[in-house]
């Protein structure tokens, strides 16, 4: 008897899991977009930057009347779950958003790893996903039809730093092949992809890789690598490890007074290095998808600078600058809004086809998708931190300032 009761309670508990089944993707006058995002865990800083970008764009679109589909105005609402920065959880939540919450349009998560886990799920259900934070090149070789990315792929992140170092060497009469390069990359899908791009470019110039370190995730100490840097005196030091890695690098480069003439990183702005480590971070080269100084503009946000201004007014804690993660997240929502209007329908496949035909200019840059879903209309740019300000120094077409070389030694 007792065990039978137990059996029933098991069944009852399972039943209670299914209180509500799929609601609609469009409720009344609201279009529901879904996203699993890292609100806790090691990607939470950037997860929140991303969420803020999504929210600001949705708010602005809604304030402007919303999205017009078939003569009717619709508002945009985004449903979030916390993926805790782990791919397995992200995949489960994508299933939940699509299967249980009935979401038919997805915004991407933060990081390449999470996007790699979620893309097969959205693909399985034919749910279009516009993502803004998964840059790994391998996302765009799987033949996904429903995946669209507004950002440039990761092998482009620091490639221009290598070119810049080679040019600098030539201008001082040195052969780029003599340059010694030190690499320190976090052991995660994104940074390993950046590393692959850097390795390829360094090989092109015949540069010597003197240090090639894999750093642990959630990086809080890179002293051993920096000790090697001190001993081997490379001409170029390249570091990638999301926000935490950039903050750790800036702090310890300052503390250990590392004097490498050129240091390039990813995620400087997301880690707020100019604010936290103003002296140590002087002269850093920083890869960025976007810069508020660029001359892009659109009708919703105005210019890149207008976006930055509005973002700073809306959210606290961004006085030192708005990270590109937020800008591209906002652009992803704009891409969706544009696609709904052009599709003039809520049919998933029509929206998908409209997305694939996207060709628009935004404050974030041009957006036009290749067959594989990656954005081919926007370049990566390289900042240098000069007098505590982010200034574009490469590629030449977008450069507003000249490179300062060698960088001013930390702490002096």
């Amino acid at each position: 008897m007792l065990l039978r009761k137990l059996g029933f309670s098991v069944a009852a508990a399972a039943l209670s899991m299914s209180v509500t089944t799929a609601q609609a993707k469009v409720e009344g006058d609201t279009i529901i977009l879904g996203s699993a995002i890292s609100l806790t865990g090691k990607y939470s800083t950037n997860g929140i930057h991303t969420q803020n970008g999504y929210e600001l764009a949705a708010k602005l679109i809604n304030d402007g009347g919303g999205v017009t589909v078939d003569g009717k105005k619709y508002k945009i609402k985004i449903e979030y779950y916390d993926d805790e920065s782990t791919p397995a959880r992200g995949a489960q939540l994508a299933e939940r958003l699509i299967q249980q919450d009935g979401v038919e349009y997805m915004l991407g998560p933060y990081s390449s790893g999470l996007t790699k886990a979620i893309a097969p799920v959205t693909e399985k259900y034919g749910v279009p996903m516009v993502e803004a934070e998964g840059a790994s090149r391998s996302l765009f070789t799987q033949g996904y039809r429903y995946l669209f990315a507004v950002l440039s792929t990761s092998e482009q992140y620091l490639a221009s730093a290598i070119d810049l170092a080679a040019e600098q060497a030539k201008s001082t009469g040195k052969d780029p092949a003599e340059l010694k390069v030190a690499l320190a990359f976090e052991n995660d899908p994104f940074s390993q992809d950046v590393r692959a791009g850097v390795m390829e470019d360094a090989a092109k110039h015949g540069m010597q890789i003197v240090i090639d370190e894999n750093l642990p995730r959630d990086l809080s100490d890179m002293t051993p690598t920096l000790i090697k840097v001190k001993a081997l005196k490379p001409d170029l030091l390249i570091i990638s490890g999301h926000s935490k890695g950039a903050a750790t690098a800036a702090r310890q480069i300052g503390e250990m007074a590392i004097e490498v003439p050129m240091i390039a990183l990813t995620h400087c702005d997301a880690a707020k290095v100019t604010e936290k480590f103003p002296e140590a971070s002087e002269g850093f080269l920083c890869a960025t998808q976007w810069s508020p100084t660029l001359t892009y503009s659109d009708d919703l946000f105005g210019s890149a600078a207008d976006f930055e201004k509005l973002f700073k007014e809306t959210y606290e804690g961004y006085d030192a600058g708005v990270p590109y993660q937020s800008a591209q997240a906002a652009a992803a929502v704009m891409v969706f809004a544009d696609a709904f209007e052009r599709a003039n329908s809520f049919d998933k496949d029509k929206v998908r086809d409209a997305l694939s035909a996207t060709d628009m200019m935004t404050f974030y840059g041009g957006i036009k998708f290749a067959e594989a879903g990656n954005n081919i209309a926007k370049p990566m740019v390289l900042w240098q931190i000069q007098d505590n300000q982010y200034q574009v120094v490469a590629p030449p077409k977008w450069a507003s300032h000249k490179l300062v070389w060698p960088r001013q030694a930390a702490g002096n």
Binding site: L3, G7, M17, A88, G113, N214
Partner: protein
């Protein structure tokens, strides 16, 4: 020990019926219920070590991750790719395999995962069964943590970049279903959990099961009585890891993207959950771990949806209450309270009680 009585038979039928009907009744929850079967498998296999044999392993998740990687590598090889090329961060090759290659790869992969994990457990057992109590627990924890880091540094299997597994091809196993892949893996998860249950249910009834209990109760005495404890312990761990390896291979394919630290060797989530589930339900019993897994999983999914931000606090609270006030777990408590319902004869005669123990 639970005797086969009508109650248990009914319970088995109820669970089996639920498992068979649920994916069609709640198609939106297929993945969560599939994960529940994996959780049940986790709890059952952990309990063999921690509950029946008294060896609290914190590293059983190692076999889950090892199985996941073995299965993935086999799938890639059967798919006709070079593993190093397939996983290279920059190579990013376009994956194109036939349906036959996919299914052959998957099933050979799962078999290899199971067998491979048995080998690994025998090797590890040789080194680790010299340790007792907390030393064994920490030692095994070390295996799982080290494995994550080592795989992360091993570029042949993709290192920290992980591996994107081949995608499920279209098939006609479940015609008319919206989520064929979900159903396919659901039934594989269910089958492996049911097989785990039946296997251990049988095992605990044999002399082998009694020997495991003897090791738990007093290992020296068991050895003194002529039980080759090392052999028994190794075989028990090998049985656990056989099923864990399969669950790893399945889970990797459900997630599609595997990487060492968070997906393959999630020590602080799944690794701890398997212990917590067994303790919650009642370790050392057959149904306890299953009940614990069901409750734990349902609570986890509900708090993750409705108490976002507090989910870890809720889980922590359950574990604390369980460990501090309720150590015998739910089934353990029920057995104490109502022993006769579990087929345990309470007799006043002390000599009669000692009879079943030593054989």
């Amino acid at each position: 020990m639970i005797a086969t009585n009508t109650n248990e038979r009914l319970l088995q039928i109820a669970v089996l019926a639920f498992g068979l009907i649920a994916p069609f009744l709640f198609p939106a929850y297929i993945q969560q219920i599939a994960l529940l079967w994996i959780m049940i498998l986790f709890a059952l296999t952990w309990d063999t070590m921690g509950g029946q044999m008294g060896y609290n392993s914190l590293g059983n998740i190692f076999f889950f991750g090892a199985g996941m990687y073995i299965c993935a590598v086999v799938q890639i090889i059967v798919g006709g790719y070079d593993v190093g090329e397939y996983t290279a961060a920059f190579g990013a090759i376009k994956v194109d395999i036939t349906d036959t290659q996919y299914f052959t790869g998957l099933f050979i992969g799962l078999a290899a995962a199971a067998v491979g994990c048995v080998f690994l457990s025998i090797i590890l057992g040789f080194f680790f069964f010299g340790l007792r109590g907390p030393y064994f627990a920490i030692g095994t924890l070390g295996i799982a943590l080290a494995a994550g880091e080592l795989i992360g540094a091993w570029r042949w299997v993709g290192g920290g970049s992980g591996i994107s597994l081949p995608l499920y091809p279209g098939s006609d196993i479940f015609p008319g279903s919206a989520d064929e892949e979900g159903l396919f893996f659901y039934f594989l998860c269910m089958a492996s959990a049911v097989a785990t249950f039946l296997f251990f249910r049988w095992l605990y009834k044999t002399r082998f099961g009694l020997a495991l209990n003897a090791i738990r109760d007093d290992e020296e005495k068991a050895e003194g009585m002529g039980i080759h404890t090392m052999r028994y312990k190794t075989v028990a761990w090998a049985c656990s890891s056989f099923f864990l390896g399969i669950s790893g291979g399945l889970h990797g394919n459900i997630v599609h993207f595997i990487e060492p630290l968070e997906v393959a060797f999630p020590t602080i989530t799944f690794g701890i959950f398997m212990v917590a589930m067994s303790l919650l339900g009642g370790k050392g019993t057959l149904w306890g771990p299953i009940l614990g897994a069901v409750l734990f999983h349902v609570i986890k999914e509900v708090t993750w949806t409705h108490l976002l931000g507090w989910q870890w606090v809720a889980l922590g609270l359950i574990i604390i209450v369980n460990v501090v006030y309720f150590q015998q777990g739910i089934v353990g408590w029920l057995m104490e309270r109502f022993p006769e319902r579990f087929g345990i004869r309470v007799e006043t005669d002390a000599t009669a009680q000692g009879k079943g123990g030593a054989d």
